[in-house]
Each structure stands twice: as C-alpha cells, then as structure tokens.
C-alpha cells in the first residue's frame, strides 16, 4: 500500500485538527488536552529533526532547549505572579504572563544556548557528539535541581495559564488552537527551508561533509545555524509545554526526555517533514492507552522500538509511502 506522502501529511493534520473539535462536541476536555500535548511534543521533535533527520546529527541533549524554554516561561511567570522583581544586574523585570513575549524570550535564550553549545559540540562528530550532547543535558539537569530559588527538584508551579491577547487561554480548545497554529507555522517554515539552498546544503552535509567543503560551503557555519534554529523551536515547545501543565521541573532537562524526542522521530520516520508529528501522536496514544493497561508500558515501548530499529526502517511514514531512508 503506497500512498503519496502529501496525502498522508494532509490527513494527519486534518485528523489532529478534527479530534479536539469532536472532543469539544462530546464534551471531553481531557482529549483536547491530550492532543495538545501531542502537538507540543511534535513541535519539539520537529525542532530536533532539523539537526537529526536533516543534518544527520544525533543530538541526545535537546532536552536542554526544551527545559530552557520551559524555565524561561516559569521564571518570567513566577515573578509576575508573585509580584517580585527579577534583577539580572544589567536588566530588571517584573516578569510577564504574556505568551508572545514569553515565546520570544524562550526562543531567544534557547537560540543563544544552542549557539554556544553548538560551538563546542559541533567540532566533534559521531559518537563524541552524542556523548557530549548527553553530558550537556545532564549539566543543565543538575544545575536546575540545585537552583533552589525556582523550586529545585520539586519544580515550579504557575497558578494561572499565561495569556494571549484576544483569547481565553484557559479554555482547552483555545490553547490547543494556539499550539496547533504554531505547529503549522513551523511546519510551513521547515518545508520551505528543506527546499531552499540552505536546506540543500544541510542535507548534503549529512551525506558527504567532504563534498560540501569542496563546493565552497562552510560546514561548521551551516551546522551551527541549523543547531540554533533547532534549539529555538524546541525551546518554544518547552515554553508551551510548561504552560500546558502549568508546571516546570528539572525533568524537562532529563536525558530520558532527550531520548523520547529521538524515539518520537523514529516512530514517525526520520528526516521526513511530518515524521515527528506522526511519531508524537503515536507516542502519546501509546502512553495513554498502553499506560492505562499497565504501569510497565515502557517495556512494550522498548520492544516496539527494538523492532523498528532492527527490522522496520523508515518508520511509519516509510511503511505507508513505501519509501525508505531520510530522503526529503
């Protein structure tokens, strides 16, 4: 059964949009929240896929950006809700509970972090890169735990969801709408990026770095920019996730989460535009249904994952469209 990728992509997006609307009709707000969770995880994974699927860089530390985005939101909202001032020395603020501003800050901080982490990590390759990104994730994780001012290990609660001008974000369907709109926007940008000269260069870099240099392109700069873009998007997802749960904790920095992001992408199909989205939906569905059946559903997830890696290349999208490999 081979279906053109466009059709599958379209069907998935329509399905994601339709499910919450149906849930609204039958008054099941929890379902809306579940789909929102999938959309946010999808966004985080789309960010990672820029460097992983596209650039071929196995970053096992993307939770850093997810956590930074989450904490950016948490810190700004915390100061706003407690009416305290955040004094950074060169800059003071009373915090904010406005989503657009929080998103910009989250993306900005993640981008800056990605720049410096990238400068260090991208000089290495292969296994070193994997291990170093993993290590950086841990670094932030332990730092967050020991940072008692913002909750430390217990995390930080935000009492009220942040606000978006003109909308009531407390209503699940409206918050879903915001997240879904952002996801679609990022998908459009990524689709354009893939076909643009930058995307061509990044894609070539994955296949042959030697070739790229002899074509007059600077591999390090291309990788770095991709890493920064990737970090910013995952950071945005982190801020949204924190808003969804109204809670930020060091767990957002955990290596387990970094691993889950990679798993999401694999399930759906590496390097494909909608791979991360499909993967996120499947993952959340598994988490919900399998998790409802048994406390130890991770065992089954592990076995499924082993199966995919050892036997089924290309993920679900590969299965449906009959194409293999990370070809976009």
């Amino acid at each position: 059964m081979r279906i053109a990728e466009h059709w599958v992509n379209g069907a998935v997006l329509i399905g994601i949009a339709a499910l919450p609307l149906w849930a609204l009709l039958i008054d099941e707000p929890f379902t809306i929240t579940l789909v929102t969770r999938a959309v946010i995880l999808a966004l985080a994974a789309v960010g990672l896929n820029i460097v992983l699927g596209f650039g071929g860089l196995v970053s096992f530390g993307h939770a850093v950006f997810f956590g930074l985005g989450g904490y950016a939101m948490g810190i700004l909202a915390y100061h706003a809700q407690t009416y305290t001032v955040l004094d950074l020395g060169f800059f003071t603020t009373e915090g904010t509970k406005s989503m657009p501003i929080i998103w910009l800050v989250a993306m900005g901080i993640s981008a800056i972090a990605a720049f410096f982490i990238g400068l260090l990590c991208l000089r290495t390759s292969g296994v070193y890169f994997i291990m170093i990104t993993l290590a950086f994730g841990q670094m932030f994780y332990y730092f967050a735990i020991s940072w008692a001012q913002y909750g430390g290990e217990d995390g930080l609660s935000i009492y009220v969801r942040n606000g978006f001008p003109g909308l009531n974000t407390l209503v699940p369907i409206q918050f879903f709408g915001i997240c879904f709109a952002l996801l679609c926007l990022v998908l459009i940008l990524k689709a354009r990026l893939q076909r643009a000269p930058f995307g061509l260069a990044l894609n070539a870099l994955r296949q042959s770095e030697a070739r790229v240099a002899t074509m007059g392109l600077n591999p390090m700069r291309i990788k770095l920019l991709a890493f920064v873009l990737s970090g910013a998007i995952t950071g945005l997802a982190g801020a949204l996730f924190a808003d969804l749960n109204r809670f930020v904790s060091p767990a957002m920095f955990s290596w387990q989460f970094s691993g889950e992001l990679i798993v999401l992408i694999i399930i759906g199909g590496v390097g494909r535009l909608m791979g991360p989205v499909i993967g996120a939906c499947v993952f959340v569905a598994l988490e919900h249904f399998l998790g409802g059946l048994t406390d130890f559903w991770h065992v089954y997830l592990g076995l499924i994952l082993l199966g995919i890696v050892l036997f089924g290349r290309g993920g679900l999208l590969g299965l449906l469209t009959g194409k293999e490999g990370a070809h976009v």
Partner: protein, 251 residues
C-alpha cells in the same frame, strides 16, 4: 606556454607522518590551458599531495599559490571559492539526491547562496542555470532527475566533473577520474577532459596510462613523495629514471 604565469603552483611542499616522508619538497606548476598529469607507483604520495593542495591536509612546510595568491592558510571551502575545483577518487556524491540537486549544490556554494531559506533552490534562476549548464557540458542533461544511487559508475564520474564545473574554477584538481572505468567510459571521459582544458587547466592524478598519454601536455613522476622527473609524454616515456622507478633495476 612556459612564459605565462602559472595558474597553480606548489612551492617546496613537504609533509611527514612520523618517520615517513609522504611529500618531499614538491614544487610543481600548472600553466594556463594545460593538462599536467601526476603519475607514480602506488604509495608514492599522490593522494597526500592532492589533499595538501586542496586544503584537507596542512603541509609541514611549503606553499600553495593560486593565481599568484598564497592560499596555504585557507580552508577547503575558501580554496573552492577561490577557484579550486576538485574531483574525488572515490565519488563523493549525495546519493539520495538527484543529479540536478547535486549540481545545484556547487552553484549554491559558488554563489554564496547557502544563507537563503525561503525560495526553492530549484526555482532560483541563477542557481538552476549554472547547474544545468554544467550538466550539459558533461553530457548528463538527460539524467538530471535520476537519483545518484541509481547512476552508473561512469555517470557518477561525469557528475564529479560537473560539480567542479559549477564552481567556475580557475584550476581543476582531479584525483583519478578514470578510476573504475571501462574502456568505453574512459574514452568518453578522456574526450570530455580534453575539451575542458580551455576553460581551466587540469592537474590530473592518474593511473590509467592510456588516458595520461592521450591527454597530458606535461607529466610529472612522483616516487616516494619526490618528483623525480617532469616533461612531455615523450621525455617521460624515454626517461631511464622513470623506468627504474616503475620497473626496478630491470634491463
């Protein structure tokens, strides 16, 4: 021909790996419009020499000069932009992509277009024109949409040349372009390279002696990292030093 300033020059290039002298005081020139072949027995250090010229390896001493400009300190990508068009001994192509997409890559690099994020590369007129012209030049226009993984070996070698062409190079550095080619393919590629020298001179490392003697204006012989002879095909064929290097002290 020897009056004009050389397009490419190496001056006293030397590189050692521990006790092994891979490149021993190599000074060669590439004149405009010529094909200068580097030949030598296996292990002579031809690959090491190429890598130093193209920027993949830093020599211990010596310079590489392109168009009178010292490029010794430049990175591989900077040298490519300065006009060095390299082809690889083992094809370095983006196997998952089409022939046209590979050719576009060179155009992107040559025109510094990597920082464009919105408009499709295929729809960008200047990029596409450069890529298609290069493909036409090497005779690959019909295969533009073919995935590289599905290309014949000969077509891949042609694509290597096309990609170097998109850079509009000042000089070609070709590392065994005939590698793995059958007789018919070699002939076609030889014809292509013959015509190419007018656009830019070619520094050619090759094992295929038929191609070398058919194409080369000058031949240099590299043995144990040292150039032992440089001259026309005639001179090299009749040189005793060269025969000894290849055949030992046999009579």
């Amino acid at each position: 021909m020897s009056d004009a300033a050389p397009i490419l020059e190496t001056r006293h290039l030397s590189k050692s790996f521990g006790a092994l002298k891979a490149t021993d005081d190599v000074s060669i020139t590439l004149q405009p419009g010529e094909i200068h072949a580097i030949i030598g027995p296996n292990g002579a250090g031809k690959s090491t020499l190429i890598q130093q010229i193209c920027g993949a390896l830093r020599p211990d001493t010596g310079n590489v000069v392109l168009d009178g400009r010292d490029i010794s300190g430049l990175s591989t990508q900077a040298r490519a932009r300065a006009g060095l068009g390299r082809t690889f001994q083992v094809s370095q192509l983006c196997m998952e992509d089409s022939v046209l997409e590979n050719a576009l890559l060179g155009a992107v690099g040559a025109q510094g277009a990597a920082w464009r994020f919105w408009r499709r590369a295929l729809e960008t007129a200047e990029l596409r024109a450069t890529a298609e012209a290069a493909l036409a030049r090497v005779g690959l226009s019909d295969e533009a949409a073919t995935r590289c993984a599905n290309l014949s070996h000969g077509a891949r070698r042609q694509l290597e040349v096309a990609m170097a062409l998109t850079l509009r190079p000042r000089a070609f550095i070709m590392d065994e372009p005939m590698a793995g080619m059958g007789a018919a393919g070699s002939k076609r590629l030889t014809g292509l390279l013959d015509g190419l020298r007018q656009e830019a001179p070619i520094l050619l490392v090759e094992h295929d002696m038929d191609a070398v003697f058919a194409l080369a204006d000058r031949i240099s012989v590299l043995v144990y990292g040292k150039i032992i002879a440089t001259g026309s095909a005639q001179e090299i064929r009749s040189s005793r030093a060269v025969r000894e290097a290849y055949l030992g002290d046999a009579e």
